[in-house]
Amino acid sequence: MKRARKENLIKRLFCLFSLFSIVFLLGIVIVLFKEGLPIFKVTSFGKFFFGKFWYPTYEPPDFGILPLLLGSLWVTAGALIIAVPLGVASAVYISEVAHPKIKGLIKPAIELLAGVPSVVYGFFGMVVVAPLVQKFFGLPVGLNALTASILLGVMAIPTITSISEDAISSVPKSFKEASYALGANRWETTVKVTVPSAAGGISTAIILGMGRAIGETMTVLMVAGGAAVIPRSFFQPVRTMTATIAAEMGETVVGSEHFHALFAIALVLFVLTLSLNIGADVLTQKFRKRLR
């Protein structure tokens, strides 16, 4: 009797703990809406999303987030151009090609990459990558979209690699056997059967990697250059939504228009990353069903 009560208590306690994160999430959502929506009293939806100027401290202010939105998408696209081939190739190498010993070396190394704090990436970007980019391309400044993309790409690689590797190594052995039995060699089997069979999982990996790049703040704040203009090339400084919030939040008056505008940006970010996560989930489910 006493034991049953004790167990019950423990069960409830754990239930409470797990509810905690849901409560937190709800709190965040409520605050984002409550503090973000008021901006649309002073600026229209169209002006907010498609306005070309972000001058929050001018009189009158301009709250157009198009340059910031495009800045985020721009560096994210650049990051994916770097991270997708490298990340997927590493995953293929780790799960299909590498000798177990080499695998035991590369896998932890890539996972370690995920553990490096983003401020360290930013620092490394400022003192190493930016000067190299500047010199190599003969640019006036090294802090630009390209430098940010390179760093974000490296940061997204662990996500893409580890999830892709899971997907590739869970492709049923029977598919590979069928391929070998038809006279295919290891390379043909990997490229034409194993990787396509893992396409669902690999897309999930890419989407999550994209989420990682879009949400990254510190690194882009340090290396992207910070110019709130619509990006036209990878060699110009850009500013992302995340960097804007981080840089400006400390200087706004609580409850001001600028304050609400920053919350509205946060809301946009939240919705973006949420949709990416849902998209990744849907793909994972579809993938599971396909392989029975």
């Binding site: 029977s174 056997e177 069928a178 070998y180 038809l182 006279g183 060699n185 069979s197 396909r290």
Partner: protein, 272 residues
């Protein structure tokens, strides 16, 4: 390595009583196969005749799969497998060093226990083997795919939906698709490893019927745990136990007057 004379028909070979010797397609000679250190196939010798169905029966774990997979060198992809002995395909040892595995696997096709179509369209499944072997021309490819699907008795059921995913087919259809996929590369020998073990009786009957038709064109080896199936569809029958060949003979003889007591016990269901 036991070196034998490189003739497929040595005098005094014990299968010579069973076979019409000029029709032998595959000769397995003193074959031994090890996984790590455990020997799964022990000193097996048998001859497989052209355009006939040869069945391999025996209790589960006796080495049937290991033996049949040796014939297209599928055991090569399992790490730690060691093979000793010879398998002569048209008189040439497929384990010789100068032999290209790809050539062997094209000549000896295989259908597995669990149907394993690729998660691709029906068309792409059958086209796969042809494409990796550099089959030229779209039109010819389509013709060959149609022919293979017809040979596998699947064409009428899928001809209007070749672009659909192979995974939408029923279990029996999937297995026939796997047969079509194997036939597409025009093998000479087709190996079946318990092809019906996951199928219902109706689907099983269709596959059995199909195998009867296929032997006109191909040499067939089939592993089965189903004694009635072996009796119904095979011309020759091998009984394996604990990796050893106990008896090999014409199927009629095995099922009516087996020469060993264990064989009789097994086929009458006294164990296994």
């Amino acid at each position: 390595m036991v070196k034998l004379v490189h003739s497929p028909y040595p005098s005094g070979h014990r299968q010579s009583i069973v076979h019409n010797e000029t029709n032998i397609r595959i000769s397995i000679r003193d074959l031994n196969i090890w996984y790590a250190s455990a020997r799964a196939v022990k000193d097996v010798s048998l001859d497989i005749e052209k355009n006939k169905v040869t069945a391999i029966i025996g209790p589960s774990g006796c080495g049937k799969s290991t033996l049949i997979r040796a014939v297209n060198r599928m055991n090569d992809i399992i790490p730690g497998v060691k093979v000793k002995g010879e398998i002569l395909l048209d008189g040439k040892n497929i384990y010789d060093e100068d032999i290209d595995v790809v050539t062997i696997r094209k000549m000896v096709g295989m259908v597995f226990q669990r149907s394993n179509p690729f998660p691709k369209s029906i068309f792409e499944n059958v086209a796969y083997g042809l494409k990796i072997n550099g089959f030229p021309g779209k039109k010819k490819l389509a013709e060959r795919i149609e022919q293979s699907l017809k040979d596998a008795a699947l064409w009428d059921e899928v001809k209007d939906r070749l672009g659909d995913s192979a995974l939408d087919l029923s279990g029996g259809q999937q297995q026939r698709l796997c047969i079509a996929r194997a036939l597409a590369v025009e093998p000479e020998v087709v190996l079946f490893d318990e092809p019906c073990s996951a199928l219902d009786p109706v689907a099983t009957a269709r596959i059995e019927e199909l195998i009867q038709e296929l032997k006109e064109k191909y040499t067939i080896v089939i592993v089965t745990h189903n004694m009635q199936q072996a009796a119904r569809i095979s011309d020759f029958c091998t009984f394996l136990m604990l990796g050893e060949l106990i008896e090999f003979d014409k199927t009629d003889k095995i099922f009516t007057t087996p020469s060993k007591k264990v064989t009789e016990d097994y086929i009458t269901g006294r164990f296994g």
